[in-house]
């Protein structure tokens, strides 16, 4: 029994890992394509059909680049930085419910690496560790631009995590559970959270932009002021890990947005499909639905990146502390009042 359990979970973990890697890889391709199309260009089109082999070429290039170490007393931390960034980006995916149960080999298999009942806290915990990757790497680079970028990144992450957590609380009030699986099930029964909590959705969305260091909040790596920000001194695959971690983060936060607000693997008519075509097909369609939602959010990240310019640093702090946090608190109060009145 135990070995079956281990095999089953390992298979899911490897699959999720592979999926995250693949998505991160192809996000780099998609980013360039979207950027190009939004600017009336065609984007990469030489490596493979439509440039589809471009990520592989990039990977080969990063691997073969010279490994450069700056003159730093903290060689160990210098290597640790990208390592932490990459691992935290990857381990968040453990608690995301990728689909409902499927029935294989006479057994119900849950399409989720682990369904811990504090998954929301787990996600937030891992997200906050993520900033250490940037901070440690930048600190160890022994470079003032990297350091400034680290300061910006950490203060930005800390301020936006507050608003993000507060926005999340209103969802938790409705679901009454910290498990992402339960939140999905609740949405399948009562309707998607985005319709009940549009304000929380907008706050959460804005905060995820800040958490993933994407434009318009990419002050940590703004080229015009800080060269490359925290990865200025990095080269070769260590640099690749940082870039990769950014895209993996984007994928994961899109997944979380879809799970928390767009009903996860739920799609309209899921009950009917489950009843008539069997739960396996239902689960697969559910996974595809989740995947489509994630892709939409990834596209949205890119779309926004090529639309809005970067915020100024004081505007960023102003938005975070003076607008988003009060709004999130008001949202909690309204949610509480409505819940008391209607239940």
């Amino acid at each position: 029994m135990d070995s079956v359990f281990i095999i089953e979970k390992s298979a899911i973990i490897v699959a999720v890992f592979a999926l995250t890697m693949l998505m991160a890889m192809y996000s780099t391709w998609a980013e360039r394509k979207v950027a190009a199309f939004l600017q009336d260009r065609v984007g990469p089109n030489r490596a493979g059909w439509g440039g589809l082999l471009q990520p592989l070429a990039d990977g080969a290039k990063l691997f073969t680049k010279e490994e450069f170490f700056p003159n730093t007393p903290n060689k160990f931390l210098f290597i640790l930085g990208p390592f932490i960034a990459m691992s935290t980006a990857l381990i968040t995916s453990a608690v995301i419910p990728w689909g409902d149960k499927i029935h294989v080999f006479g057994k119900d298999v849950l399409l989720q690496a682990t369904d811990i009942d504090v998954s929301v806290l787990y996600v937030f915990g891992v997200l906050s560790i993520g900033v250490y990757g940037i901070m440690i790497g930048a600190w160890a680079s022994n470079n003032k631009y990297s350091l400034m970028s680290a300061v910006r990144a950490s203060s930005q992450m800390i301020s936006y995590e507050v608003a993000m957590g507060l926005a999340m609380i209103s969802i938790l009030m409705m679901s009454g559970s910290l498990s992402l699986k339960e939140i999905t099930v609740m949405q399948a029964n009562d309707g998607w959270n985005i319709f009940y909590q549009p304000l929380a959705f907008i706050i959460f969305l804005i905060c995820s932009f800040a958490e993933t260091n994407r434009t318009p909040f990419d002050l940590a790596e703004c080229e015009s002021e800080l060269i490359g920000g925290y990865h200025t001194e990095y080269s070769s695959m260590k640099m690749g890990f940082y870039l990769f971690a950014e895209y993996a983060n984007m994928f994961i936060s899109s997944a979380i947005l879809s799970v928390v607000f767009l009903g996860g693997y739920h799609f309209p008519g899921m009950d009917w499909v489950n009843a008539n075509w069997g739960i396996n097909i239902g689960a697969i369609l559910g996974f595809l639905a989740l995947f489509a939602k994630i892709c939409f959010f990834i596209f949205f990240y890119m779309w926004v990146r090529w639309t809005i310019p970067r915020f100024r640093y004081d505007q960023l702090m102003h938005l975070g502390w003076k607008i988003l946090i009060p709004l999130a608190v008001i949202n909690i109060i309204i949610t509480g009042i409505v819940m008391v009145l209607f239940k």
Binding site: L38, D40, V42, T307
Partner: protein, 181 residues
């Protein structure tokens, strides 16, 4: 009209410091408008010219790679007078003159011809002054319709007569079309 209102380019825009409206101040609405603008571009026709497969049509006066011309009988026109080299602001042209032998009359139009004629394409700024200076109408930048190709070595950018002189087939074709007219 006061001086402040004159706009030479016709594109002068008055800066206004009017207060932002509420919709503008919460950004969200303006961001949505911006997203709509970029979304429209997603489906626009792309302006890229995929270079090696597609080339842009050159305008008739485009100054590309030089061509040393031949006359109607296929003889090289250049007489190695050196005026082009003298006029060249980038000092890109060098040449060595030689005297035409009697049996070479079908090859060179004048009694003196350029034995070696080299243009350093890295120095050349494609100003066309050599073309203007030439008394024999022997050098043109508009005829070859070619862009000087990229290369790896500096030496490879020094173009000799093998690359510059008009190909014979082209001369034959020109002669024929001239006869028809």
């Amino acid at each position: 009209m006061s001086v402040q209102q004159i706009s030479l380019s016709g594109r002068k825009i008055e800066v206004s410091n009017k207060e932002m409206t509420f919709l503008e101040r919460i950004y969200l609405w303006t961001i949505l408008k911006g997203l709509w603008t970029t979304l429209k571009h997603l489906f626009r026709r792309k302006v890229t010219i995929k270079y090696p497969e597609e080339t842009r049509t050159m305008s008739p006066v485009y100054r590309g790679q030089h061509m040393l011309m031949r006359d109607d009988e296929g003889r090289e026109r250049c007489t190695a007078c050196g005026l082009c080299a003298l006029s060249c602001p980038a000092e890109a042209i060098t040449m060595k003159a030689a005297e035409r032998k009697p049996e070479e009359k079908h090859l060179y139009r004048e009694e003196k011809y350029a034995e070696i004629y080299e243009i350093n394409m890295l120095r050349c700024i494609f100003c066309g002054l050599c073309e203007e200076a030439c008394p024999k109408e022997a050098i043109y930048l508009t005829k070859s319709k070619k862009i000087v190709q990229a290369n790896y070595e500096r030496e490879d950018f020094i173009y000799g007569k093998d690359k510059l002189v008009m190909p014979l087939e082209m001369a034959i074709k020109n002669t024929q079309s001239n006869k028809v007219n």
